[in-house]
Point group: C2
Chain length 734, copies 2
């Protein structure tokens, strides 16, 4: 199955949704009503006073190079389509002001020149490359998962660290089970589809949202944890760096955000190296460690110094250690989300890659736990557990430096993968109208700039708030992702039960086990780490779900209000009578199609005039030229001023109707607004146009010297339907 265009593909035109069939039918019906109201399009075309294809001969137009002429097609085939088309060049996206342009070109250094929408087609990857690109998130968690588990066990004293072996085994089974579950996901969703899509698809939108909310939180925490852990890995090798870890980490997050705003897509090879380096490094440590352990007859070293127990060993503590160790599983789902990036046959290649990744993950995790056991390494202090194990096994030399380097780099690549996944998740949620549509917008580098920024800022704040340390972040981490695991696997279960395709029993069993085990992790983590921070995730997930549903409700209401409907009877959709360019509108409505409703736009113009200056005269001339009934308005704070203004009006010639509103309390904008509203109440069928003169200053600081009545009126009148505000600019010299 080739990747489909709708499910998991990103397009640049998602911001402009397509009309559905019903809406098109309604549009056609509405359009027929217009036939009686407008002179033929040819008249309008002829009346155009300008060359719509722009005068490219104009030296200013050609010099700025903002537009290019391209040969267009004529899809209608009726001869009226365009022959030429105008294309906006990259320069047309630049600001007009020199300051704006300078700022932009400074940003360009960081994020690169704009990219065409057509550059969006993703490169396909082979299995080896895909494994390297898609697995850092999962594999890198070996750097902190075992340590998080041991740190909990250590609370029961150094003597209980040996419990890491059974717990590690349980985690390996969990990894296998969830991983196999995701192999089934790849089969079912060959276009790719994260937990959000699977759960929403199979269990219903709200379950999808819960999965999405869990993932949103976990992406943010992934960045914070990976960067914290990466910086700690460096600081283990170079202890003098430890006090500066927050600053270093913030710089790293900034660089990651900037790099992703650049939209580094083709850097696959660059990302491949760290993954394989890390696999090699862990392999080196594990093999050396096991060989050394074998030379001692697999007798574990007694942990030194001996930490006395501070908590009693109980079921809760063991479960807590288990759930902390489960953080090593984050990222296991990444391959199943990204099936379309594989070379065909995508699904098969993806499944093979997932299997390889599972094998690596489980052996690395188990290996680290074993070596930690045999070397008697304990967590705590400023050095990471992995660093201690490495020192114990490969010694303090170049091999150690290599291990730490590989660990750091793979953690940064893992943080980076969140910058890929998070904006894509928001894109899909925005396409379903659950988050603001601004997450649909592709920046001019084809990156989801908004999503990248919304990930970078909170993760930087959390990283700094937790003082750049991994340990206190662990209790918050992984709950969200296990909620998503649970729902994705449960979604698969529901799907198997519904579809019962080939091999459904085996698939059902796999996914059911995965769902149950994942759910168990969620429950265990929520209970055992509630007071340590898990409560925050448990509170935030429903909050995010409610927020998303409210956003969805608004978008749905907006869609219903905005889409042409079959029963459309709204006036204001048809111009009055037969409109033609340069011609008046007859006073009586003419529309056979919709004659049961008032179908005309009747215009009425109000012109507020404060001072009788050239700006006001220009607005009056413009308003009069529209040829609609017109009333000028003046608001006067005192009797004297009213008389003075009327005198000036008479001097001018008293050409147009004028109403003076006395405003003895000196308010201006509010009385104008309420007056317009009161007139509008008399004839709600009228479209009232306020023609407002607006002073435009040449320098920003001069804005404080003027009163901004136009802007204030516009804001005040926004709440009235059927009132159009037209601002007539008057430019002041600098």
């Amino acid at each position: 199955v080739p990747p489909g265009p709708d499910d998991a593909a990103v397009t640049a035109s998602a911001t402009l949704p397509e009309l559905d069939k019903e809406a098109l039918a309604a549009l056609e019906r509405v359009g027929k009503g217009w036939h009686g109201c407008l002179s033929p399009r040819e008249d309008w075309e002829e009346a155009l006073p300008v060359n719509r294809h722009i005068e490219f001969a104009d030296p200013v137009v050609s010099r700025t190079g903002r537009f290019a002429r391209v040969r267009g097609t004529d899809p209608s085939g009726d001869g009226h389509g365009d022959i030429d088309e105008i294309e906006a060049t990259a320069k047309a996206g630049e600001a007009a002001s020199p300051t704006g342009r300078r700022l932009r070109s400074a940003a360009r250094v960081l994020i690169g020149p704009p990219l065409r929408s057509t550059a969006l087609a993703e490169e396909r990857m082979g299995r080896l490359l895909a494994l390297a690109v898609l697995s850092p998130d999962a594999l890198s968690s070996v750097a902190y998962g075992p340590e998080a588990m041991l740190a909990v066990l250590l609370l029961a004293g150094s003597g209980q660290l040996k419990l890491s072996l059974p717990i590690g085994a349980a985690l390996a089974i969990l990894m296998l089970s969830v991983g196999l579950g995701y192999r089934q996901v790849i089969k079912a969703y060959p276009h790719g589809g994260g937990s959000y899509i699977i759960a929403g698809d199979s269990l219903g939108p709200r379950w999808g949202l819960i999965a999405g909310a869990g993932l949103i939180l976990d992406y943010i925490l992934t960045v914070a944890v990976s960067v914290a852990s990466g910086v700690e890995a460096v600081a283990s090798a170079i202890p003098s760096l430890y006090p500066d870890r927050v600053g270093v980490g913030l710089v790293v997050i900034f660089v990651l955000a900037a790099g992703n705003l650049r939209g580094v897509r083709d850097a696959g090879a660059a990302f491949a190296a760290p993954t394989y380096l890390f696999v090699a490094a862990i392999g080196l440590v594990v093999v050396t460690g096991l060989v050394k352990a074998a030379s001692h007859g697999f007798t574990p070293t007694t942990p030194h110094p001996y930490h006395p127990p501070v908590e009693a060993l109980g079921v809760l503590l063991v479960l807590r250690a288990f759930s902390s160790g489960a953080t090593a599983m984050t990222g296991i789902e990444v391959i199943s989300n990204a099936v379309p990036v594989f070379r065909p046959p995508e699904a098969k290649h993806a499944r093979q890659t997932l299997t390889a990744m599972l094998a690596l993950l489980i052996s690395m995790f188990v290996g680290v736990v074993l070596v930690a056991h045999f070397t008697g390494a304990q967590p705590g202090g400023q050095e990471t557990l992995l660093s201690r194990i490495a020192r114990d096994t490969v010694g303090d030399g170049a091999a150690y430096a290599f291990v730490q380097f590989a660990t750091t780099v793979v953690l940064l690549v893992a943080a980076n993968s969140a910058f890929n996944g998070f904006p894509r998740l928001l894109y899909f949620m925005a396409r379903d109208s659950y988050v603001p549509r601004l997450f649909l917008r592709l920046g001019d580098r084809l990156a989801f700039s908004n999503g990248i920024l919304v990930l970078a800022v909170p993760s930087a704040i959390i990283f700094a708030a937790f003082d750049g340390k991994t340990a206190p972040l662990i209790p918050l981490f992984a709950i969200g992702v296990f909620i998503a695991f649970t729902l994705a696997q449960a979604g698969m279960v529901a799907r198997w039960l519904r579809e019962r395709g080939r091999g459904w029993r085996a698939g059902l069993a796999t996914n059911l086990l995965g769902a149950v085990l994942s759910a168990a992790v969620v429950v265990i983590a929520a209970i055992t780490k509630f007071t340590e921070g898990a409560w925050l995730v448990i509170v935030l997930v429903p909050c995010i779900v409610v927020l998303c549903e409210r956003i969805h409700g608004h978008y749905e209401a907006a869609r219903r209000a905005l889409t042409p409907r079959a029963a459309e009877r709204s006036h204001r959709l048809l111009p009055a009578g037969v409109a033609r360019p340069g011609a008046p509108l007859p006073a009586t409505p003419r529309d056979a199609e919709l004659q049961d409703t008032p179908t005309e736009v009747h215009n009425f113009t109000l012109v507020p005039v404060a001072v009788f200056d050239l700006a006001a005269l220009r607005a009056l001339a413009y308003a009069a030229s529209l040829g609609q009934p017109l009333l000028a308005l003046h608001v006067s704070p005192t009797e004297d001023e009213a008389k003075r203004f009327r005198r000036e009006w008479e001097v001018w010639g008293n050409h147009l109707p004028l109403e003076i509103i006395a405003s003895p309390f000196r308010a201006t904008v509010a009385p104008l607004t309420y007056y317009a509203a009161a007139l509008h109440r008399q004839r709600p069928d009228l479209t009232m146009t306020l023609v407002v003169p607006e002073i435009v200053v040449a320098r920003p600081w001069q804005q404080i010297l003027h009163s901004h009545t136009a802007a204030r009126l516009r804001r005040a009148l926004r709440s009235y339907e059927g009132i159009v505000v037209a601002t007539v600019p008057f430019h002041l010299p600098p």
Copy 2:
């Protein structure tokens, strides 16, 4: 001479300046040109589709009570004037939104209901009341002036405190001389007129600005110093209050600002009490002190503890002490600024009151210096000098409490007087276009709200920055006011030399002496206190002057650009052809008067359409109903989307010309802007109207869910002359 309407009077209509004779003539000429372009006003009046006097019978209109109908006059006498007039009630100034209304009514509790412009007429005052209301600023400085002088002398050791007697005598002479100079000011400016007006009038605008800048700084410092000194006076009596002085002082400044926003004008009697209480209190201290001194044969007590000298006694130190003591003179000019508030004969009463105030000021100042000398009181520590003298003379009981209470209250009243003077100064400077016009606006309580806020905020910041202490503020203080004194007196000298009226020689001598002595104080203070803070004032005064002149330059340029001129030839001032309501505009210009220029407004409408929804249809219908040449625009991020949109346009019926701009870099607003600009370059004589659909949401939080293209287009197009932006609202359900 009765107070004139222009010089020193405040009017509510100053925000709407009158056209001068030349502008009126030009307006008449321009208006004649319109005769040929418009059908008679009667046609326009008849075409009005609404009752311009509002349907008061409409229950909504009558219930909200925002407008009242008043019997109007018909000033033109041609029968076309209004018979009824609409008056906006106090309710018409309120916000429409419930939140806005609630906020407003909360503020109303603090600042009271709105007042009519007609309530502006100031009450006249008798001499005794005027003395009490106008002199706190001057008299209260006796609370800190002597202490400031002694604090400098103490640097030369306790033994040199006796120098306060000759320096005090010199200051008394200075007070007398400057005070007599201001008696001459009252004669010359019977409408009142502060140093800003006098210096500007006699020496030229820049000198007026220098005086104004000095006064601006000193008003701010007056608030800070008076509040600091008042709080210190309380803390001298109640030492436990000392650590909280900054908080207490900030509350006081807030209360003063709120009180003045209320526009407490008629509280004259309330302000009279503190002044006379303070006079009585100082009188009590001085008389008791002198009687006690007499009983010891006027032998001064040796200061105890003895402070050794930390600086050598020299001319500079003496001069520094002199200039510090001169802070006791601030406020001496207040009466001459406020002549119109006296009962007639204003000037005579004002002069008499000034003489009385001078007598009080000099005797109180000299008295305090003498008693300090005889009691051997020294400044320093947390207790004020005045408090020590009071304890020494009237003892520690009720009389002492009375002195401290009176001192505190009079200092607060003095700070309050700055809240009266400062906004008035800014009003006059704004009337001359030297500061932003927003300082002309009278709040709905007839107070200059903007001026009050601009005083309160910096004075609160300075007060807090100086830790609520008077002593470190003294070096900054009084330089500004002495600059103003010097320029006012110098202005009077120039005036005498120019006019040589009755008694000009005596007047000249008085003002010359005042000018020279004031200038000497400025120079002395600037030199001796330069490093202690005076440099700040010396730097800020020219900065303020330059800023004011730049503001003036802008307003002058704006006035020239906006005022109708005799040589007016601008097109766009006349509507095209003969405009009449509901009628088309002929294509050829018709204007006998201005036929040498293109005189018509030719309209051309652009309608940007992103998605083919009802908002877009409404905008298209509105635009078509204007009957002007029209072009719809669509910006498309991808080829596919362009095809899709064209298909939808065809389904609708392809009624109007459509141009699709391909934007492969996905920018929307910028290409639209540049495209409109490129069309506008082809025919700069066209007035281009962009009709933009605008989605209006019901709840503020929903704004983030929409793209605000209309607002962004409006902002981007502001810099182009001749492009009108009309926004057609489409309201979404909540």
